[in-house]
């Protein structure tokens, strides 16, 4: 009898999750695991994920790989699945509490934000004190990735976070404004246009992911400011790394969804075979698949890789 596993992602339209799925499928084919994939309908769609977990349990899956939309709220559904003997591994985003899942293979999103924040600050040097920052976030529902990356960036840049569980409550005068982008080019462009209207002298742009960064770049190009504004982003997808290489994006924090997914499938196969559960990285309460800053303009004090290396490691 074959082993069956489930992959549940936040959405299946974001390239990040699309690649994660491809990685999982490739590994599953290799190990002879039957994989079924599910996703939320929109960013932050928590209910569809609960329904998907229930379907997996009903279907007799051995393990579930989950990138949770709502890390606290999903806990009950995960518990029900574990009670039914299903191995649940959180991918990309740790649950809250983190031990609600059997294991967590994740990037630290806060650290991803922190790296680009530090890089931007170091790149600007003294001018960081009078920077004008635009923050292009994901959605007004403020799902946890959205908050972690944004707050990580601000921390790295040296801005007081106020409530670290919420973006938009900072009072630092350098912040021109927050806008939401839905994480795509269209949203990035419109948000950037609006913020430029508010203050045409913006010189630092944080973006939730690389598609919104590309949109922001178009808006800057339209007003002829694409050369003198720093855009930073998170994800490390191949088009994103290419954009770093082309100078569209200054730096991006690269994550490794393929790695997470293939590790997850291996863990499930192992669990099905002999019942062992994966162990966390030493010194942490989760298995860190790592995050790396990709830029061609390295700065002192912030560890980074160049775009050649980034392209090698990128995920699609």
């Amino acid at each position: 009898e074959g082993v069956s596993a489930c992959l549940i992602t936040k959405t299946d339209t974001n390239p990040f999750f699309v690649k994660m799925k491809e990685g999982a499928e490739a590994k599953a084919a290799e190990l002879g695991v039957t994989l079924k994939s599910y996703a939320g309908k929109i960013d932050g769609d928590h209910e569809s994920q609960v329904a998907a977990i229930e379907a997996c349990v009903a279907d007799g899956a051995k393990g579930i790989l989950l990138t949770a939309s709502d890390t606290k709220a999903i806990v009950d559904a995960v518990k029900a699945a574990r009670d039914a003997g299903v191995l649940v591994i959180a991918l990309d985003t740790p649950l809250d509490p983190i031990d609600a899942a059997d294991a967590t293979f994740a990037t630290d999103n806060f650290r991803a934000g922190l790296l680009i924040g530090e890089w931007a600050k170091a790149t600007l040097g003294d001018k960081a004190a009078e920077a004008k920052i635009a923050l292009l976030d994901l959605s007004i529902a403020q799902p946890s990735v959205d908050v972690l990356r944004d707050q990580g960036f601000l921390q790295g840049f040296g801005v007081d976070l106020a409530d670290p569980n919420k973006w938009g409550d900072e009072t630092d005068a350098r912040i021109i404004g927050n806008e939401v982008t839905s994480g795509n080019e269209e949203g990035g462009l419109k948000a950037m246009e609006a913020l430029l209207t508010k203050d045409p002298d913006i010189n630092v742009v944080y973006t939730i992911n690389e598609p919104s960064a590309a949109g922001a770049y178009e808006a800057l190009k339209a007003v002829g400011r694409e050369k003198d504004v720093l855009i930073v982003s998170v994800d490390g997808g191949c088009p994103g790394v290419a954009n770093v290489k082309d100078g569209v994006i200054g730096a991006t924090s690269q994550q490794y969804p393929l790695l997470m997914a293939s590790l997850g499938i291996e863990a499930i196969a192992k669990y099905a075979a002999d019942g062992t559960k994966p162990a966390p990285t030493e010194g942490k309460d989760f298995f860190d698949t790592g995050v790396a800053l990709v830029t061609d303009k390295p700065v002192a004090g912030v560890e980074s890789i160049d775009t050649a290396k980034g392209t090698e490691l990128c995920w699609g």
Binding site: D45, E47, A58, N165
Partner: protein, 357 residues
């Protein structure tokens, strides 16, 4: 000069001995005709047939489908949509539409949760406050529709955005954890309890949904108020002239819909354990409930259809989503097929009605 009038109407003498016979029509007695006639008389039967066909197909395609746990899971997955569907049904019967149902539900659940945890109000009281506030949100919709005479689509499009934003602002994006609720305010999770006959879990929420559908079916069919709801949707001017207090009925309908949504919000806490302001019901609840209503055969032009049909509509969608998941379809293909299903189900419905008309 009435003689003049008399003269003018003498031809009516021809009426003497006029036939009092009632026109008779032969009744077709073939089995097919009888089935058609029955379908025509029982509009909710059409979605039921679609449902049975869907069940059979998925039963064949997936071995796991006909397990009792699968079926009880389907029921618990549609519990919230079913309750929102009750709200949507009565609104649609008045020729309205309520885009704010999901937002009211989520906001009410957040209000119940925060009343308890932020302001320390005892859970039962917090629930009552949440239900009252949900009703008030519906009342505002109704007031704008009935008194200010704005189109329901616009009113609820506006309140949808307003309530969703209020929900995020008020909750400060905070999720209340399941374990905290279980420890401090179990009443909030009441509908998440279950009976377990023979090991199959059936949530209280499922029974609540069925009870609400049954009650509303009775109210709509067997009380004057229910008839008035239909009359308002059918032709509001005629209803007004015929002595229905259309404005009052409209306000009551939207307020009741608000109450149902708040109940759905309470049920959401039980079903998901936690209170989450980002619950996607806020964004998608309206489309989901409208889909159920329409697949169930309620006319968006008002005045026609039954709430039992809505229940079958919700079930059809639930069965399809679960069935496609078990068959292992890719999520995008699931969306695709649900889209096809919506059109197909309504086309079948239309076809049966035409054949049997």
């Amino acid at each position: 000069m009435t003689s003049d009038a008399k003269a003018a109407t003498t031809f009516e003498e021809g009426l003497k001995g006029a036939s009092e016979k009632v026109a008779e029509f032969q009744d077709d007695k073939t089995a097919l005709k009888r089935i058609q006639h029955w379908l025509h008389q029982t509009p909710s039967a059409v979605p039921m047939i679609v449902l049975v066909v869907a069940l059979v197909i998925f039963g064949v395609l997936s071995a796991n489908f006909f397990k009792p746990t699968t079926l009880s899971t389907i029921l618990q997955q549609i519990a919230i949509v079913g309750i929102l569907g009750c709200a949507q049904s009565i609104v649609v019967l008045t020729a309205g539409i309520d885009l704010s149902v999901g937002a009211i539900a989520v906001f009410s659940s957040v209000l119940m949760g925060q009343m308890t945890f932020r302001y320390g109000i005892p859970a039962p009281l917090a629930i009552l406050i949440g239900l009252a506030l949900g009703t008030a949100m519906g009342f505002i919709n109704g007031w704008l529709v009935a008194k200010v005479k704005l189109p329901p689509f616009i009113v609820t499009l506006g309140t949808w955005q307003i309530l969703l934003a209020s929900n995020f602002i008020f909750s400060a994006n905070e999720t209340i954890r399941s374990s905290d609720i279980a420890a401090q305010a179990p009443a909030l999770q009441f509908w998440g309890n279950a009976i377990q006959p023979g090991g199959v879990k059936v949530l209280y929420a499922v029974f609540l949904m069925i009870a609400l559908v049954a009650i509303m079916a009775y109210v709509l069919r067997h009380t004057a108020w229910g008839r008035h709801v239909y009359a308002v949707g059918d032709d509001p001017d005629a209803a007004e002239l015929a002595g229905v207090q259309t404005k009052r009925i409209l306000i009551q309908v939207y307020a009741l819909a608000g109450l149902f949504c708040a109940i759905a919000g309470w049920v959401m806490i039980g079903r998901f354990g936690s209170v989450s302001p980002t619950a996607s019901t806020g964004q998608l609840g309206n489309i989901q409930s409208i889909t159920a209503v329409v697949i169930g055969g309620i006319s968006l032009f008002g005045g026609r259809g039954s709430i039992v049909g809505m229940f079958f509509g919700a079930l059809i969608v639930g069965v399809f989503e679960m069935g496609l998941r078990l068959v292992g379809t890719d999520p995008q293909w699931t969306f695709f097929l649900i889209g096809v299903l919506i059109i197909f189900a309504v086309a079948v419905d239309q076809w049966i009605r035409k054949v049997s008309a």
